[in-house]
């Protein structure tokens, strides 16, 4: 029987929550594996019953460069530093639970947590100041229209893949999920850091009541288990052949014109391409605003 929570009796005989059951870790691992298998089968069947692509725009905008910048160097640096921190956090959190000893895993874990916090703070500042933060975060009517179109595409091989702005519907949904889960882990993680030896806080295990402490541990655990699923699916899609062009854009910074026109709506992701050409270097040095104008559907 799978348990959801770990509970114990505190020294006063009260039944208190102490955290999430590690059974859920295995549930997440199995669910991720089943999802990969299920999606692979679904995708194979879908490929066989290939649907007609969405009608191409009547007239592709002129002057679309060969390489279109999707992620600036700053954005990529954030992404990969966050990825390193997140993977370290997951490994140090769950590998010891699986029975493999990692010396000083708690220390490595909280240091990775601090690195993640710094990366998130940097990302928030960077995205508000230099990226189209509100269009990524907004829930306008077009978001839901795109969502319905996306669901229809998943459900029916006849429904074409909707062309998105810079950030497709599924990416935005993933981003929203990561915000909720990662911030839950971060906030509870900071509270948990107050209970151990770090340079930041004087250790105080009695900062919260037993009940509140248990709740903090449980939220941290649920967030951690959820991150197993989220990160595993993220890596899965990043490695899928049909998605690798997106993955490469997070390495090189740009997407090519062919993928841009095939998957994105130039009206939603406006590329003012006078600065680009087929010889445009892939350095990410282009200013975001020149190739990644704010979405007009927000």
């Amino acid at each position: 029987m799978i348990e959801l929570w770990r509970r114990t009796q505190n020294p006063w005989g009260q039944d208190v929550l102490i955290g999430v059951s590690w059974d859920l870790m295995w549930v997440a691992v199995v669910a991720a594996a089943l999802f990969f298998v299920g999606h692979s089968i679904w995708h194979r069947m879908r490929t066989k019953a290939a649907h007609a692509p969405e009608a191409a725009p009547a007239r592709a905008p002129a002057g679309i460069p060969e390489r279109i910048q999707r992620h600036s160097l700053a954005a990529r640096l954030f992404h990969w530093s966050m990825a390193a921190a997140m993977l370290t956090l997951l490994l140090t959190a769950f590998v010891p639970v699986m029975g493999l000893d990692i010396p000083s895993w708690v220390t490595i874990h909280w240091i990775a947590g601090v690195a993640l916090i710094l990366a998130i703070v940097y990302h928030i500042i960077h995205s508000i100041g230099w990226q189209d933060f509100w269009s990524m975060m907004s829930f306008g009517p077009s978001f839901f229209r795109e969502g319905f179109a996306h669901m229809r595409h998943i459900a029916s091989s006849r429904a074409p893949e909707p062309k998105a702005g810079k950030y497709p519907f599924d990416h935005r949904m993933y981003h929203h999920a990561i915000i909720v889960v990662a911030l839950s882990a971060v906030v509870t993680g900071v509270i948990m850091m107050m209970r151990i030896d770090t340079p930041f806080f004087a250790m105080n295990p009695y900062l919260l009541s037993d009940q509140s402490t248990g709740l903090v541990f449980a939220i941290h655990g649920v967030a951690g288990v959820s991150l197993i699923l989220l990160i595993a699916s993220h890596i899965y899609f990043a490695l899928r052949p049909e998605k690798r062009w997106i993955t490469w854009s997070m390495v090189r910074g740009w997407v090519d014109r062919e993928h841009y026109l095939a998957h994105h709506d130039p009206a939603k992701w406006v590329v003012t391409g006078d600065s680009g050409s087929s010889r445009q270097p892939a350095s990410g040095a282009l200013a975001d605003s020149s190739v990644s104008a704010p979405r007009d559907d927000a």
């Binding site: 020294p11 102490i18 029975g99 000893d101 895993w105 209970r195 030896d197 009695y206 541990f217």
Partner: protein, 333 residues
Amino acid sequence: MATMKDMIPAFELVQPTTVEDAIALLNEHGANAWVLAGGLDTFDWLKDRIKRPEVVVDLGGISEMRGITDAEGGLEIGAMTTLTEVVNHQRVRGEFGLLATAAGQVATPQIRNQGTLGGNVSQDTRCWYYRSGWPCYRAGGNTCYASAPLAMNREHAIMGRNRCVAVNPSDTAPALVALDAKMIVQDRRRPFVHDAEDFFIGPSIDITRMTVMKPGDLLTRIYIPATWANSSFYFEKVRDRGSWDFQLVSVAAAFRMSGSTIEQARIAVNGVAPYPVRLEAVERLVAGRTPDAATQDAAGDLAVRGARALRHNDYKIPMMRNLVRRAVRSVSA
């Protein structure tokens, strides 16, 4: 007739006669099994109703785990050999006196008659919050009660802490580390040989265990190589009363001398961390030096570098410093 209801919770007692059978039983029952050696740690847990194993695997009938034999110039000691046998063994006393001295300071003669070397090194910590059944980290909970601002932590750790601040209580553990002993641990597939200093683990590796042994593993033998035979040894255990007490701090040291110079040393301290601490930096410091006052002071100061006291155990820092000084002084002319 009155019926006594407050009994030790019932368990199934199994008494294997071979290591193979014991391993099979331990693996069959996993975390529900409890290993019974001399019983001196075990029955505290059971009588306090803190541990409630379903199956107790009594190793008392496994003769191959008893006795001391010569092995490759050194000694091989079965894990079920009693501490009294260790103390009285001629070669242990003659060549590895450090272990004989340490084993001779365990508790009382009665306890040494019953307690085993394997049990002494495998025993659980004596942190009373943990031993009283409080749901601390070591017990699977999410709090260390002993490191709280107002906790009673006079006997707790000054180094090697990681959420848990309990200390290793074994007297023989630092002696085995100093003698570079090898711990032979059998799991269901094969035996593993661990250096004694790696056999004991801290909470940074696994907060619920004191040693590398996981459920299903069994310490079968302890091999003491000839490397440090007949060296100059020093063991000192400081405790609150003259006998039948756990150490506050203990030191075990082996010195190989060349004239009046320390050629090589191995020094371990216990009672200061959740595991016996080998002082490698001190060993390097004293190697090649005469054990004069300057070396003694330097060794003591270096030993406590990085130590941090809790609310009530700051006395352990000078105590550890002085014990290391005295160990080095013991080989001065």
